[in-house]
């Protein structure tokens, strides 16, 4: 087990390492190397010695602009692993980590709320669809659910924002909380935060619970057809007992895995929604830094989003054996299988692996 954990940790670190490398080369190999451009600008502005200029550029990009490439690379990687991602270009003097730390709580809040609601709703509706497969209402629900699952979330965001915030001021126009409340553990602030998150969360839930529902339906259907369920029914166990203990539990196992795996990916999927609702999470900062060409912040956001995925994947792999007693040894979960199971039943959310 220990060996497995170590191996799993190592592979997670390897992924993070690769992503850091990608982000290094993306900055470094950009057309019109942004570091050199910044350096030239500082030189022309005057007032700084060459050393000061280099110190400044290296602070912003967390590497030494004039060292040989390999040396720059190692400095960058070493800094990144120490949590130094440089400074924001558009917000001089502020570290990228500081900005991200301010944005992260909002994304985590909105993302986990969205995911849990979407999951709960999806599982409920999916079970319904599985239980009443032949029933007309279940077929209609299936159609509606697959329809909603195919609608791009930003279109729903546009409509929600327009009707419920802009036109009828049911929900706030944007932001994460009202400036008239004081951040902290107090009721006005917490309720303000919830009200502000309502529309972004709704936009996500509306377009994503369908995927969960269809996955749940698929999962429950296959369990219903499994031999042990038939056996249980043959033994004369009550319908309720069978659905709850046999079908429910076994159908839920793959669902829980997918849930955990989605958590990380949702950090990336929140980009459009956060931007539309001017919700100050990591996705909004990513778009802002992209449009401002703030490369260090951009790469910081990207790196953080990736780390979120890596960490949640790792946790699933490590915790899965605790959830599923059928898996004897650790590391038997194949992430891909879970995902492809979802794909097989046509339920992969509209982003087709892009979320």
């Amino acid at each position: 087990m220990t060996r497995y954990i170590i191996r799993r940790l190592a592979s997670a670190l390897a992924v993070v390492y690769v992503v850091i490398s990608i982000s290094f080369f993306m900055i470094r190999l950009m057309p019109g190397n942004p570091m050199v451009a910044l350096e030239e600008q500082l030189q022309l502005e005057g007032g700084l010695t060459m050393q000061e200029i280099q110190a400044k550029v290296s602070a912003i990009y967390a590497l030494q602009p004039h060292a040989p490439l390999w040396q720059q690379y190692f400095t960058y990687v070493a800094h990144a692993f120490q949590g130094n991602l440089g400074q924001s270009v558009s917000d001089p003097g502020t570290s990228v980590v500081h900005i991200i730390a301010g944005a992260l709580p909002w994304t985590i809040f909105a993302v986990s709320l969205s995911l849990l609601l979407s999951f709960a709703l999806g599982v409920g509706i999916g079970s319904f669809m599985a239980a009443f497969q032949e029933h007309r209402s279940a077929k209609i629900v299936t159609l509606i659910v697959s329809f909603l699952g195919a609608v791009p979330n930003y279109l729903v965001a546009i409509l929600l924002l327009y009707f419920l915030a802009d036109l009828h001021h049911v929900f706030p126009l944007g932001g994460a909380y009202s400036a008239s409340t004081t951040p902290g553990l107090n009721l006005p602030f917490l309720s303000s935060a919830c009200v502000h998150a309502a529309l972004p969360v709704a936009a996500y839930v509306i377009t994503s619970f369908g995927g969960w529902a269809l996955t749940m339906k698929g999962s429950a259907t296959s369990v219903l057809g499994a031999e042990y369920v038939r056996a249980a029914q043959a033994w004369g166990l009550g319908r309720r007992r069978v659905t709850q203990s046999y079908v429910g539990r076994n159908a839920m196992l793959p669902m829980v895995t997918s849930l955990a795996l989605s958590l990380g990916f949702m950090f990336g999927g929140s980009v459009f929604i956060e931007t539309y609702f001017t919700y100050p999470g990591i996705g909004y900062y990513l778009i802002q830094s992209v449009t401002n060409r703030d490369y260090s912040l951009m790469m910081g956001c990207f790196l953080l989003i990736t780390v979120a995925v890596v960490v949640s994947n790792m946790l699933v792999d490590l915790l899965y054996p605790l959830i599923d007693p059928r898996i004897q040894g650790p590391g038997k979960v194949q992430r891909v299988k879970v995902q492809s199971a979802a794909k097989d039943s046509g339920t992969l959310p509209q982003s087709g692996g892009l979320s």
């Binding site: 459009f272 492809s340 794909k343 692996g353």
Partner: protein, 284 residues
């Protein structure tokens, strides 16, 4: 192949939604191919004709520059479909080739390539696409398709590989090998047909994924816009406040509806393939 089509037809006949999806996709493909022959924009746009409500001449009204919205939808189909299909094609080709080759060849190549695949499987696609698109700043369809397929291939490669692995140990491949058939022959004649339906479903979903991201990029103005496409139509309609009058609404709602209809069509059509691929579902 013909048996595949036959069972697809049977499945589609049983599932009206899938049938409808197939019809809609065919229609959009026709529009993408022949659209520019039938629809034309006014080369000297004029605000004097702006926001005409729906009429026989302009079934979906006109936009802020007096362009016929229906014509724009038709013309916008090609870039959207082109990039979506191209991206899905790239995704699927890369995924299948890598999956089949690693699965069949195995060994060091397999483990090295699979480690790389794992990395791409972990990197969240959308943020990476946004970052690359903003750096590359190209409106070339092929470049955009490449960007859109940058991570999507990994999942497929994994899945195809596991299919290939299980087939490798099966009898008929063993037989083929004993007959001394060359590698490409084995792959093309034996492996490919077996992963075909799965790949087809993946392809359809990749198209929806690519269109989702592509329209999102245009919508947020991250990728430069050349000519008419649906994302840019929504972008312009939004910035001109088209949602505010019933006459102008169509210029915003029409491209939105087009995207939704196309996405839903792909997803529904994928269900038919799903049934063909997965006979267990068929029996239910």
């Amino acid at each position: 192949m013909s048996s595949f089509l036959r069972s697809l037809w049977t499945a589609a006949r049983r599932d009206k939604a899938a049938m409808l999806g197939g019809v809609i996709i065919t229609m959009f493909i026709m529009l993408a191919v022949f659209g520019p022959l039938i629809a034309h924009l006014n080369p000297t746009p004029s605000g004097a004709n702006a926001y005409r409500g729906p009429s026989i001449r302009d079934p979906l009204g006109t936009d802020a520059l007096g362009q016929n919205v229906l014509a724009e939808i038709v013309l916008g189909t090609r870039p959207v479909m082109e990039i979506g299909l191209l991206a899905a094609l790239l995704t699927v080709s890369v995924g299948v080739v890598i999956g089949l080759v690693t699965g069949y060849v195995g060994g060091v190549l397999d483990s090295v390539v699979m480690r790389i695949t794992d990395v791409f499987l972990t990197i969240p696609g959308l943020p990476l696409i946004i970052v690359i698109a903003s750096l590359v700043q190209s409106s070339n369809p092929l470049v955009l398709a490449l960007i859109l397929s940058v991570t999507a291939w990994a999942g497929l490669a994994r899945a195809v590989r596991s299919q290939a692995l299980s087939l490798r140990s099966s009898d008929f491949l063993e037989a083929a090998r004993l007959q001394g058939l060359p590698l490409h022959d084995v792959v093309i004649r034996q492996l490919l047909p077996n992963v075909g339906p799965y790949v087809a479903i993946h392809f359809l979903l990749d198209v929806t994924g690519a269109i989702y991201a592509e329209v999102g990029l245009f919508l947020l103005g991250i990728a430069p816009v050349s000519g008419t496409n649906w994302g840019e139509m929504i972008n312009v309609a939004m910035s001109q406040g088209a949602l505010f009058t019933t006459r102008s609404m169509y210029s915003l709602l029409a491209p939105m509806a087009a995207i939704v209809i196309l996405q839903v069509a792909f997803v529904f059509f994928a269900r038919a393939l799903d049934v063909v691929f997965n006979p267990r579902l068929q029996s239910q």
